[in-house]
Amino acid sequence: MAIKILSSAFDPWHETQQHQQNQLEAGKYGATASFVGTMRDFNQGDNVAGMTLEHYPGMTESYLQKICDEAEQRWPLIDCLIVHRVGEIHPNDPIVLTVVWSAHRKAAFEACRYLMEALKTRAPFWKKEDMAEGHRWVDKNTPG
């Protein structure tokens, strides 16, 4: 299991490949499910140049760990990986990566979804949009 909070851009496919190569035993897992949340560019809605992600160092890692532990108790998983950006983020930047490895696809799909939904409601991250005229805090997340 690995939790990473990164303050600079990351490549989710490289992170996945690297974790799989270093931490997983070949032949033991049959399903890998991943989710990548990326900041889109804005052809609809408001014109937002970027955003800043703030977090509560220490509590963030602790809650991401709890969420992974819960998933491992609920499904028969082999491993989990969560990577989350903080700091300045630009359109097209990956914001979050969740990956689950298991023997079969049902557990991998369900646990991967669980990690994302639990993360959005409990991990202490806050988004602030950077606008031409200043900043504004994002007030709430929406259901997936």
């Binding site: 994302m116 991990a123 929406t142």
Partner: protein, 97 residues
């Protein structure tokens, strides 16, 4: 008696400070819960309805007791994960995932 108080995101900006220490020198009252810590740390600013609290990095209720050495944090609802836009809902779904 010493309590570390932290504010994050919008609350940090509203209160005007990120962190402070309440101790005997700042007349910290002997009996207190999170609400009283908020009152002292913010000089009786009204606490916004949706404020979340944590003691030692665990979510807590506003009536939870606070003890010497605790770290108390106040912050707005969390908004991690994928980008969903300012207003959420229909508008946000136009450019989120």
């Amino acid at each position: 008696m010493s309590i570390t108080v932290k504010f994050f995101a919008r609350l940090r900006e509203q209160v005007g400070k990120a962190e402070l220490i309440l101790d005997d020198a700042s007349d910290l009252q002997s009996a207190h819960d999170i609400q009283s810590i908020w009152n002292q740390a913010t000089e009786n600013m009204p606490m916004p309805d949706n404020t979340l609290c944590a003691i030692n990095m665990e979510y807590s209720n506003t009536d939870a007791p606070v003890k010497d050495g605790d770290e108390v944090a106040f912050f707005p609802p969390v908004t991690g994960g994928s980008y969903l836009g300012h207003h959420g809902g229909h508008h946000g779904n136009n450019h989120g995932n």
